[in-house]
Symmetry: C2
């Protein structure tokens, strides 16, 4: 197939659903996928690199960017703000890359409302709340209070799963990875993204 | 993922694009896919089984069924008539199977117009007309005149490719099979076909 018109792949998942692991595997498998780097006010975690994992900015800078209308979507979660700039996305699309956006439910709603980009949305579901609770505790990066809040948020976020184009349950990592890969392969074959190949 | 709501997979392709080979491979790979058996007035080919490959009927019987409104879609191609009954599809869907419909462009247009079923449409493209011409000659089942007509039909049919949800070029059988498999896997994960799993 000739080169398709690049599009956005929006991924959301409650914390602890294995989203980061899955997205890293997709990045390895699919050439021509770019990851848009979000801006955030949350503290940098061990191992995270500024400009790679996020652009880490302070509250003032973030507010200034938001007021200037630079964000496609921005949202505040767990007291921290996250935002994706038009510029971050446009640069990747212009280079012919599909763009993975790792955003939360609020972010997806705003992207949907903005109606600016061709995008496909995927919600990654936990196999169940007990399992999710165990995973968050195993991760051992968060306090018990934060874990409780993440679980409460997960329950709220899962209610938004029907808004997404696809739902993939991460009950088995390899299986979920196969399913996500199939979605990307299929969406690249959509006629609407290849119409110029027919002329 | 729990069981999805079954749907129709509509495949069209000009003769000689490898559609039959691809559909047989899909049938092997995917459990829970049914093939709806069409009615046709065309003569039975060597190896074809009545009730399995087609229901072979005469012109009178076909016309009578069409007038009774039994067909979801029916079309006349190369002087022969083909039709798919509601009954053939409904039986498979009721058993929880997705249903593959192997129909031509006319049939797809009628299915679309009927607006009765949830379906996904896929057009299989030849790599090019020279290649298609060689394939039709290699197959050695048709006269030169029939081959010429099939090529002329192919040119006309390819113009309808943009009407389909997906386009898959069969330039390499394994590659095309992987792409078709991805489409089926992805479409089964669509939220709209799994919405009852969220309640």
């Amino acid at each position: 197939m000739s080169k398709h018109k690049p599009f956005l792949l929006v991924f959301s998942a409650p914390s602890g659903c294995g989203k980061t692991t899955l997205l890293n595997k997709l990045r390895e498998k699919f050439p021509g996928i770019g990851f848009s780097v979000s801006h955030t006010t949350r503290p940098r975690r061990r191992g995270e690199v500024d400009g790679v994992d996020y652009h880490f900015v302070d509250q003032d800078k973030f507010k200034q960017m938001r007021d200037a209308g630079l964000f496609v979507e921005s949202a505040t979660v767990h007291l921290n703000s996250y935002g994706t700039t038009f510029a971050a996305i446009d640069t990747l699309l212009a280079a012919g890359n599909d763009v993975i956006l790792d955003i939360d439910v609020q972010g997806m709603r705003r992207l949907q409302a903005a109606n600016h980009y061709d995008f496909v949305s995927i919600f990654i579901m936990p196999p169940g709340l007990d399992e999710l609770s165990s995973r968050l505790r195993l991760r051992d990066t968060d306090s018990e209070q934060v874990i409780k809040q993440r679980l409460a948020n997960a329950v709220a976020e899962i209610k938004a799963a029907p808004l997404y184009d696809y739902n993939v349950v991460n009950d088995d990592l390899e299986n979920a990875f196969t399913e996500l890969s199939a979605i990307i392969t299929a969406e690249r074959l959509r006629t609407s993204r290849n119409i110029e190949n027919f002329s």
